[in-house]
């Protein structure tokens, strides 16, 4: 399995920030491992943001996350999103 690169993680942070029009945030403050939902990450999201991000991932990377149970796991953190995208690039299933 390919480990996601730092470049990909940065790309994902930028994607989230531009998709949700978030201002005044330092990307270095966004922890890669901390939860994006209900935690104490610099980026904290809600369920509406989740569907925005799912659709942004589809538009940007051509990867459809159809099942919401999977979606919940994938968009849990920057690392989990990056791992999923790296895996899908290597072995596409959607």
């Amino acid at each position: 399995m390919t480990e996601p690169t730092q470049e990909l993680k940065l790309e994902i942070k930028n994607l989230i920030i531009s998709t949700l029009s978030i201002e005044n945030i330092n990307l270095d403050d966004v922890d890669d491992e901390k939860p994006l939902f209900g935690g104490d990450n610099a980026l904290t999201l809600d369920s509406v943001d989740a569907i925005e991000i799912i659709m942004a991932i589809q538009r940007t990377y051509g990867i459809r996350i159809a099942d919401q149970n999977l979606a919940r796991q994938v968009i849990g953190s920057i690392n989990s999103i990056a791992r999923f995208i790296a895996e899908q690039r290597e072995n596409p299933t959607s």
Binding site: D46, S47, V48, I51, R64, D67, N69
Partner: protein
């Protein structure tokens, strides 16, 4: 007492996931999308004014329980069903089945499932799960929405099984009773598709199928007259997102799961047109997801602007048009 060799698996939807788990445990190698498709799970119904609902609502799947009965008819499998007036008898029967090493499906009110975080619990009387064991006063539960098996107090399971209200479970439990020696998957798939096409295109009831999507498009602009205020209306519009994405629909109101079924059906039946239609339905599902997002944004921002409901109406009419074309093509593909 714990049922031996039961493999817990997550699933997109509770009912199709529960049926799939029980069939898999019985030795039938079948996927959740195949169960959903053979059972003609895909559907649409819009309910503008009904006594059971305080506000207009819609469904995107067939009636709860119908997947099980359709699977019985089309695969020739048999489930044994039980319902109860007496909770004590209900618990004794369940315990006896577990004692006999039989994983048992149950219908419950989701609200009483204590393993669900409190903020996610809502009263839904048609949640399905598999009970796989009991140790002292706790049951082991395979709930398709959770990554691992969970434990539930006997009292909570009883409350869930015997909750009152609309579509009350009445302690309903079921288990696999008989698998046929041979299954004609080709025939079962074609029958499942044929019935789904009938329900979407030809059912002579104006609020069901494609006509139901059109009625939704027509009537959604009237929603403000049912609402107390903007807050209430925004909340109800946000529920469109929940019904399409958040309640075990497999995404986009089951359209993605049905597309996966068609992909698998193409291989089994040797009909490549079904694979092409699968790709088309994935795109149709993307359009439903756009409606989810549009509704969720209205709910989140409390932004009803002058044209928002008109835009939503147009998006729904558009889904009706593309689904009508899709189901007509699907109907032709199986002839």
């Amino acid at each position: 007492m714990i049922v031996q060799n039961f493999n817990h698996k997550m699933a997109a939807h509770c009912e199709s996931g529960t049926i799939t788990s029980l069939l898999n445990h019985g030795g039938l190698n079948i996927t959740e999308p195949l169960v959903f498709g053979i059972a003609s799970g895909i559907f649409f119904g819009y309910f503008h004014k009904m006594k059971s609902f305080a506000f207009p609502t819609f469904i995107v799947r067939n009636k709860p329980g119908q997947m099980r009965t359709n699977i019985e008819k089309r695969l020739g499998v048999r489930f044994k069903n039980y319902d109860f007036k007496d909770p004590v008898k209900g618990q004794q029967t369940l315990d006896q089945l577990l004692q006999n090493n039989i994983p048992t499906g149950a219908q419950v009110d989701f609200f009483y499932m204590d393993y669900v975080p409190s903020w996610e619990r809502v009263h839904i009387n048609v949640h399905f799960l598999v009970v796989t064991g009991k140790t002292e006063n706790k049951y082991t539960i395979s709930d398709a929405y959770f990554p691992q098996m969970v434990e539930l107090d006997a009292d909570s399971l009883e409350k869930g099984r015997f909750a009152g209200g609309n579509m009350s479970p009445k302690g309903f439990i079921f288990h696999l009773d008989k698998l046929p020696a041979d299954i004609d998957y080709n025939k079962a798939i074609l029958k499942g598709i044929s019935k789904a096409c009938f329900y979407m295109l030809k059912i002579p009831i104006p609020f069901l199928g494609i006509r139901g999507i059109r009625m939704f498009g027509k009537k959604v602009v009237e929603w403000p007259k049912f609402a107390r205020d903007t807050e209430h209306l925004s909340h109800e519009i946000m529920k469109i997102n929940i019904l399409l994405e958040d309640q075990g629909t497999g995404g986009a109101g089951f359209r993605f799961m049905y597309a996966t079924f068609l992909q698998q059906a193409a291989t089994i039946t040797g009909k490549p047109q079904l694979a092409e239609l699968s790709a088309e339905l994935m795109k149709i599902g993307d359009g439903w997801r756009e409606i989810s997002l549009f509704s969720a944004r209205i709910g989140k921002n409390r932004d009803l602007g002058p044209d928002k409901l008109k835009q939503l109406s147009e998006m729904l009419y558009d889904r009706a048009n593309v689904e009508e074309r899709f189901f007509k093509s699907l109907s032709q593909a199986i002839k």
